[in-house]
């Protein structure tokens, strides 16, 4: 398996930044520009037809960080014929917080990308319906970011809920 991954580096020299073969599964770190070509090649030519998982990771203040960017979007692809699993990573800057959507390739990516947007605030270009999925639509902030607190202060609470409480208090007072 390692053979063709190293060839991938030559074929997509501008996209593939680094290939790590010492991890539990082969990991390819990619550039955002041209990423869609690479993942399309993997799906259609190399037979990685099944997208297991798509998730975001926030590396703010991570002690062992070796790169500048704050976020990582991680893809786990699986080849059902050769039983190979490959991990793709794309690094996203905080002030340039968007990435290309793979929903046109996999329908299952639709909700995964919505969740990454919901939790990390990474926007996906080309996504047909980018809305929050788990949090309420009018929620402020992105909960899985590292600078989002585990417990919110009273002022930071969900505006709709706060309004409801205040209204109830007012009515009771009367």
């Amino acid at each position: 398996m390692s053979g063709w991954i190293n060839k991938l580096k030559d074929q997509f020299s501008s996209v593939v930044l680094e290939v790590q073969l010492d991890k539990d599964y082969p990991t390819v770190i990619c550039n955002r520009e041209g990423f869609l070509d690479l993942i399309k090649h993997l799906k259609e030519e190399k037979g990685f037809t099944y997208l297991i998982d798509l998730c975001g990771v926030d590396y703010l203040n991570y002690k062992h960080k070796k790169f500048e960017e704050r976020f990582e979007v991680v893809y786990h692809l699986y080849n059902l014929d050769t039983k190979e699993l490959i991990r793709l990573k794309v690094r996203i800057k905080e002030d340039d917080c968007w990435h290309y959507s793979v929903t046109p390739l996999w329908k299952t990516a639709n909700w995964f990308e919505r969740e990454v947007y919901d939790m990390f605030g990474i926007k996906f270009e080309g996504h047909p319906d980018l809305r929050r999925v788990l949090m309420p639509e009018d929620w402020e902030g992105y909960p899985l970011r590292k600078d989002y607190p585990l417990y919110l202060d009273e002022e930071q609470e969900w505006a709709v809920y706060k309004g409801l409480v205040e209204k109830t208090k007012m009515e009771r007072g009367k």
């Binding site: 037809t49 926030d58 059902l80 909700w111 899985l144």
Partner: protein, 409 residues
Amino acid sequence: MSLALEINKKQLNEDSWEEPYFINMGPQHPSTHGVLRLLLQLEGETIVGCDPIIGQLHRGVEKLAENLNYNQAIVLSDRLDYIASAANNIAFALAFEKLMGLKVPRRARLIRTIVCEMARICNHLLWLATHALDIGAMTVFLYCFRDREWLLNIFEKICGARLTHTYVRVGGVRLDFTQEIIDDLYKFTEEFPNRIPDYETLIDINRIWLKRTKNIAVVSAEEAINLGLTGPCLRGSGVPYDVRKFRPYDAYDEVEFIVPTGKNGDTYDRYRVRMEEMRQSNYIIKQCLDKLPETEGEPILAEGAPDLLMPKRLKEPKPMPVPKKGVVFRGADKPIVPVGEAFAAIESPKGELSVYVVSDGSSNPWRLRIRTPSFVHISAIPELTKGHMIADLVAIIGTLDIVLGDSDR
């Protein structure tokens, strides 16, 4: 009443009816299996659009786990898919063991396999019960719950809990099997295959059951992979993908079993796949039980596994015991958990459950990502329901086997 009459009048005169007809199904609907809300766009009784709205049960498990240590995170996994919580425990434990490089003893692996298959039978029995109840077969519900009770009683003997087990630890399991449990399980494995025909005679060639399930929500193999369906939903379409066979974990490489598949990819095939899976699970349990005596006396926890300090209830307050080697503490000098990342997946009863964990060397995971099958299956509902009648929606939700605790996390 006046509004309903007005809508009725408008609908009778089709030319003046232009607005789309929206209906809210749930979140309090009994056959949505929890708090799933579906915003349906209808044309008469045919569904043309469907928008599932989830998140009513969102507890932030991924955020909570970042603030707990590894063994504490396993407790959260029980609350995801609370019908088969033992399987969730194993998924978490596998990812953490891979990260820490622990080698689980064979006895613990066998016990885990037994527990995982027990959870599968539990889940499929509950699925069959509720699915049949949704479609209108009450007797199956009663039979299934009778037998599920039997398994839950065995679970109670194993770990003291019936629903949220937390039986699996990082590096092994919490308690060893006693002879009484093994005897009970042997009795179960002998009797259970005789119980399955009881359910099958009720619905297998039942005219109503066939009418309600045949050719409903047909998914082709390619479409199923593209939608990300896993587990029995994928195998019903004829793809023999099973994590237990493709990337074996625990003791699945030691046991024999068949991966049942369907042909047409409709609701009826998925039902047949699950029924067959129960028989295979039973067979796996039996094989593991036969192998257990070979490992008599082996430890059930890996060497160097992080210990979970449980405060003991003592009459006189005593100082905390000195921690053993391998205990993980916040801010410990020497990190026991190496820096890195790990990905582990299991075949949970509902589909593929995968855990991706990133560690920064401290006692808490830096990021814990859980890919749950229900989340993906709910996202497939709009595709599956297109063109079906509103009454079939109940069968489609049932056949996908979703639990909202699993999808909302």
